[in-house]
Symmetry: C4
Subunit: 243 residues, 4 copies
């Protein structure tokens, strides 16, 4: 199917600026959720958090490497919000990105359900976040989600949005996901990504304490983003500690 040349420059440009990035976020989110959910559903008992931590972290690094130039490679509504607040993403794209990411998450989680044996799927609650089981854990989990997402947000700001010129940038972001998962996985699940929480929650219809994984990451992104905006003052989007 050729790009119809009659469509003209404006049409092609709209495709490149709008449709293409949304498709990249959708496809990337679907693949990220597929491998991420499988790494939890099929996780053995002998390797602790290593398998999910490596899959989510390296998966983030790989997906951001290949889609970064097209859409920024967020696959995460909270990080997209941060990028909007700090000027890395145009406001008009935020809602389309969120929709793409959540749709991608649904597709990825659904495909993970399709290929998993039913018993394993339900034992793992379909990779939905089940770390928080009672009210007593809520405060700790919420604080952990906020701090861990703030760490991730800081890394994204200081490397990707700040345009550090290094081929390692996608992996610095990815490894911060690995590190946060290993550190906080047993406290809150170390989600840091509402889309990652949403997809499997729909598939397993598991909604207990689901709000933590929206409130925590979004709050952290807003805090980090506003701090950066406040400290930089004028038009140029710099970072909190860099004038």
């Amino acid at each position: 199917m050729k790009e119809p040349s009659a469509c003209g420059k404006r049409c092609a440009s709209r495709f490149e600026q709008f449709v293409q990035p949304c498709l990249a976020e959708l496809l990337g989110s679907a693949l990220f959720l597929f491998i991420g959910c499988l790494s939890v559903i099929e996780n053995g008992t002998d390797t602790g958090l290593l398998q999910p931590a490596l899959v989510h972290g390296l998966g983030t690094g790989i997906m951001t490497t290949i889609f970064g130039n097209i859409s920024g490679g967020y696959f995460n509504p909270a990080v997209s919000l941060l990028a909007t607040v700090t000027g890395g993403l145009h406001l008009v794209m935020l809602i389309p990105y969120w929709i793409s990411q959540l749709c991608g998450a649904l597709i990825g989680a659904a495909l993970a359900k399709v290929v998993s044996p039913e018993e394993k799927f339900w034992n793992a609650s379909g990779a939905a976040f089940v770390t928080v089981q009672d009210e007593g854990q809520v405060v700790g989990a919420l604080v952990a989600e906020i701090i861990l997402t703030a760490l991730l947000a800081l890394v994204v700001c200081m490397t990707a949005i700040n345009e550090m010129h290094s081929p390692l940038v996608p992996y610095t972001v990815g490894l911060s996901v690995t590190v946060c998962t290993l550190a906080g996985g047993a406290v809150s699940g170390a989600c840091m990504n509402p889309a990652r929480a949403f997809g499997p929650a729909v598939m397993a219809n598991h909604w207990d304490f689901h709000w933590i994984y929206w409130l925590g990451p979004i709050l952290a992104s807003l805090i980090v983003g506003l701090l950066i905006r406040l400290f930089t003052g004028d038009g140029k989007t710099c970072l909190i500690l860099k004038r």
Copy 2:
């Protein structure tokens, strides 16, 4: 043995363009299969999929680093097919590459058999893929192989064939093998490579559901390759989301 200068330019050029790449694919496939099969045959019970996932992934990264400039560093019939479809490999080289890869796979799997204690070799079915045991698993395994190979194919397209200029490209490809193995290893074995399946299948004479590891990867490569060709339209080999 000196390169005979009487042979002239044409002969030397043929050696460089034809014999040398095939030898590289053969040698690389043999070494890749040797360490890959050993990592499964000698795998302990305490580290889940970590040992095979790291060996196959980092092994891919290392082999592609050292042979990439000579042959492209595929070591995988499905990825070679993808490269042919997307214009990264000349059609006339496809069959020689396939033969080199399958011969290399046989040599590597045979050497792994030679150095392994017989009991361990047969306990692991010689590192042949035995994840699928009954008909009920076939659909899930086939879908998993298709999606995981599509992820790998997408990474290869967006980095190596698209000539992303970064020393990390071989490791981005390699780590996508690691990630896919950790995510899908318990579902389908996460083969993504017919040659990897073929070598140990011959050595252990294990052919149950062997067709999955040819059909899945080749289908995925064709789908990704054709999508890219369709969306790009004319001569220049671009990528699906890049006009």
Copy 3:
């Protein structure tokens, strides 16, 4: 809050040269201690030292990547001392850095305590170093801390202070932390960082053999730093084996 332009150039420069680096050391140390302590408090029994080794090592790599240009990215009183001795850090900044690092360590360890279930926190003694239990282990632990910190100090000198131009420098430093933790974690805890020891020691009020984690790292930094100074002779800060 705009940078008040009335303050003038001197004020802004003082902010950049003094306040900003100290804030970076404080924030970085707090985040490093938070994830580091959690990785020990929440460590499972099946993965040995892998979880803490990866979190401390990759965490060092990530934090040094994002704060390196602002403060040098030390987060470690012993390494700051080394940098002062070898000329990488101005003497007047040493005490402010130490205070920032120790305050950050307290904040990070306190936050880790807040989010951890009480039982797990006390089982792990709040991630304080408890490897040395009796007098018989003291010599081995002290020697191990000295050698491991010397290795880390040598890596810092040869890469960061020596201004090796490679995006991998922060990860070479970080991976040396991983390697030392895996090698020496069971002997001495492989602390190599008085701030890392201090934070959780306060939170768990655990001070047995605490001095080892100050004496060992500081001694190692002094030895490596002086060797480098002696061998280089004059003003230019070169390395021990490089004239």
Copy 4:
């Protein structure tokens, strides 16, 4: 101690060309053996070969990163021999390098013995290679050592000696050590380095089948080196498959 200027240019140059590289090989080998032996002596039962594989591999990458410009960063008599055969190291330096590497290995293994609890040290035979226990394993172990060292030798040739310009070269070499250890550790120990075998063998006075770890690696280095020399023909030191 100032470099005495009276000594003149010749003396300084001799220091730089002869003493300095030997000191680097000695120091690097000592640190590599120290962490390597400790990673085996203190290895838990839950993480299989991961701890030694990561420490030896990443340790190689780190040491080669920091000493590569001074001495080449071999720390391995077999790899030094390969470099001599392929023209990467002057013949006159080979014996001094070997002596430095073996002395360093002794120092490192001795220090590992000093800091280890006696029981753990003897349980692990001081990290000497004890994988081969009876005559029946000899052939498999020898073949494995030859193939694994050949893989390592090929990686060294194609990256370091071939002067591939990438900051990843030391880690490509290091990760090939990790991969070979994970794949072949249970077959032969995956030593690939006579110095690594020699140091702990002296400390634990364990010499059973010790010759395998000299014959295998040296044979592999000679084979790979000669193949390269034969195929390249004239003065320029190219690689086997590169004309």
